[in-house]
């Protein structure tokens, strides 16, 4: 049932968060220019962008911590400023760089926070699920980074929220702890919580998010699934292989899908459209040539990010040397 509901949501059936033309200035600097997006029920929605792009400001407006200069925000039909009291009951929050008192113990923190809510989750069970039961009596100061992060997630969930906003969830964690945390987030989503994930890690967004809003310089530059974003920049493909017998360049260059053939030592590097791989393999097969150590370089979210934000554009061929047109989401 939930799965079906979620599929329909992708068509825009039920919006949990709606942000329309959000503007926020600090002094003279516009932190958020004109941001609009919709988060559907049951999805993991990523807000991705470089540091200082306006990601945190955007979610702080959603959380009601900051008042937008212009624009509308609706979370579960509530206004984050006007309906603050009700919103805090339904929205779980994990803040970037927020700590607890050094001496506060894990179980105490959870018991305290659960007392704030009308209908809290069982905090002992939550401690179990997050794997911090063994640390119940450990003060916050003595927890590892990963354990502190787990406690922070537990506190975001202790009020049984319908929506959780998690800001820079895995920053500062080692790769193993990061992967564990990702599994955890998926488990939370499977319990029916809609998740907004703020991150600057491509890998994290690619792995977890159903849809991603790419924010740069206070603007939404793209909004789509991670795969679709990657496809947008997938205009070129590079195929590298070592032919079993020397291959005539002409054989490959004659293919309409191929734009260029170069050599690197023994290896042949073929550049072409996204359909080049099939064409190259076919022509090699017809000529009884085996492509050894075949490698295809394809655009991923990272390339999409670079292309769409125009960063690092000079260092990497094929990701656009001129500034990309900004599309508003």
């Amino acid at each position: 049932m939930r799965l079906i509901a979620r599929c329909r949501d992708a068509e825009g059936m039920s919006a949990v968060i709606e942000v329309q033309h959000l503007h926020k200035k600090y002094g003279d600097t516009a932190a958020v220019g004109d941001v609009s997006f919709t988060v559907h029920e049951g999805e993991i929605f990523g807000i991705l962008g470089p540091n200082g792009a306006g990601k945190t400001t955007t979610v702080e407006c959603i959380e009601g911590l900051r008042e937008p200069d212009r624009g509308q925000i609706s979370v579960l039909g509530l206004d984050p400023q006007r309906d603050r009291a009700e919103l805090t009951q339904l929205l779980g929050v994990q803040l970037q760089e927020s700590r607890l008192p050094d001496q506060l113990r894990v179980a105490e923190a959870l018991e305290l926070y659960s007392s704030f809510y009308r209908d809290p989750a069982d905090w002992r069970e939550l401690m179990e699920v997050l794997g911090i039961s063994a640390k119940a009596r450990t003060p916050f100061r003595k927890l590892s980074g990963g354990q502190q992060q787990r406690l922070s997630i537990a506190l975001a969930l202790v009020g049984s929220p319908r929506v959780a906003v998690l800001d820079e969830l895995t920053t500062g964690l080692d790769p193993q702890a990061r992967r564990d945390t990702w599994d955890l987030i998926e488990a939370v989503r499977d319990r029916g919580v809609t998740i907004v994930l703020v991150t600057h890690f491509m890998e994290e967004a690619e792995r977890l998010c159903d849809r991603v809003a790419l924010i740069d310089a206070g603007q939404v530059v793209a909004l789509d699934t991670p795969a679709a974003l990657a496809e947008r920049v997938e205009t070129e493909q590079r195929i590298r292989f070592r032919p079993s017998v020397p291959v005539d360049d002409w054989l490959l260059e004659s293919l309409p899908e191929v734009t260029r053939v170069t050599h690197k030592g023994d290896a042949v590097v073929v550049t072409g459209t996204s359909k080049a791989l099939n064409a190259v393999i076919s022509v090699l097969a017809r000529n009884h040539i085996v492509a050894e150590q075949l490698r295809v370089e394809q655009a991923d979210l990272e390339d999409a990010f670079l292309a769409l934000t125009g960063r690092h554009s000079s260092t990497s061929e094929g990701t656009g040397t001129h500034a990309p047109a900004k599309t508003k989401g």
């Binding site: 919006a15 959380e63 009601g64 911590l65 609706s74 579960l76 039909g77 509530l78 309906d83 009291a85 009700e86 805090t88 009951q89 339904l90 929205l91 929050v93 803040l95 760089e97 927020s98 700590r99 607890l100 008192p101 050094d102 001496q103 506060l104 105490e108 018991e111 305290l112 926070y113 659960s114 007392s115 704030f116 809510y117 009308r118 209908d119 003060p139 506190l155 009020g159």
Partner: protein, 263 residues
């Protein structure tokens, strides 16, 4: 999109309220780590001084300059305000500024618990410890060294509460304006020593030169010590003493409310 606001059912069996839980938590935290040192000094140091002074023979003899009171009589109110000032000016500002620095208060703003309740919990805990300490000091002074218990109890309580209000307002103001926990501790400590000087810790007020006595009367703890002294001797504190303390409480309280930042 209208599922939320109408579905509230009053919980039948209530767990501890947020306020109760916050107060219990603040009390526990006060007994641990750095905070515990502040707690120990606030309660233990005045008690230690009382025992030392009580053991000095000459401190138990009436002194003409003090209007026939013993030196110990003069010092008991000073030690009482010492405990209160230590709790309000040394222990509290660092804790609250630290909460802001760590993002504890900001985090609370995203929950249904108003961070104002953390301040309330702090007041409750500090006030409770202050009351216990005052009662303890009076009991030891009376039982151990025969110091007279306050004869004007009403005046004594009013003076004590006004002194506590003035001190907590000042402590809150320090937490409000200090950029971080370290600065809050520093400013709090300086104010503590300054106020305790004018309260007569190093030189009792009647022994001060005339000019210093005038200044002392205008400070919150100078006024507090004289008011408590009056009440001990069976008189109501003077209006000037009470109004002086109330002015500090109101002024710093309003300033703290005006300048306090949650993040």
């Amino acid at each position: 999109m209208t599922m939320t606001s109408a579905t509230i059912a009053a919980p039948a069996v209530r767990r501890r309220s947020a306020m109760t839980q916050l107060t219990i938590t603040e009390l526990k935290l006060f007994t641990r780590g750095r905070a515990a040192v502040g707690l120990g000094l606030s309660v233990g140091f005045p008690l230690l001084l009382l025992i030392i002074f009580g053991g000095i023979h000459s401190f138990n003899m009436p002194v003409r300059n003090y209007g026939g009171l013993t030196t110990l009589d003069v010092y008991v109110p000073i030690l009482l305000v010492f405990a209160m000032a230590s709790l309000s000016l040394v222990a509290m500002p660092g804790t609250l500024a630290g909460y802001r620095e760590l993002g504890v208060l900001r985090r609370l703003k995203t929950t249904p618990a108003d961070p104002v309740r953390v301040l309330a919990a702090q007041f409750a805990v500090k006030l409770a410890v202050a009351v216990i300490t005052v009662v303890l000091l009076l009991a030891v002074a009376r039982g151990g060294y025969g110091v007279a218990i306050p004869r004007q109890i009403g005046g004594f309580v009013v003076a004590g509460l006004l002194a506590a209000a003035a001190l907590m307002a000042t402590g809150l103001f320090v937490a409000a304006v200090a950029p971080n926990a370290g600065a809050a501790r520093g400013i709090g400590a300086i104010l503590f020593y300054l106020m305790m000087f004018f309260a007569g810790l190093w030189l009792p007020i009647p022994a001060m030169p005339q000019e210093l006595q005038h200044i002392s009367h205008a400070t919150p703890l100078g006024a507090a010590v004289l008011a408590l002294q009056n009440a001990t001797l069976g008189q109501w504190p003077t209006w000037l003493q009470l109004v002086t303390m109330a002015c500090y409480a109101v002024t710093f309280g309003l300033a703290a409310a005006r300048f306090f930042r949650w993040e």
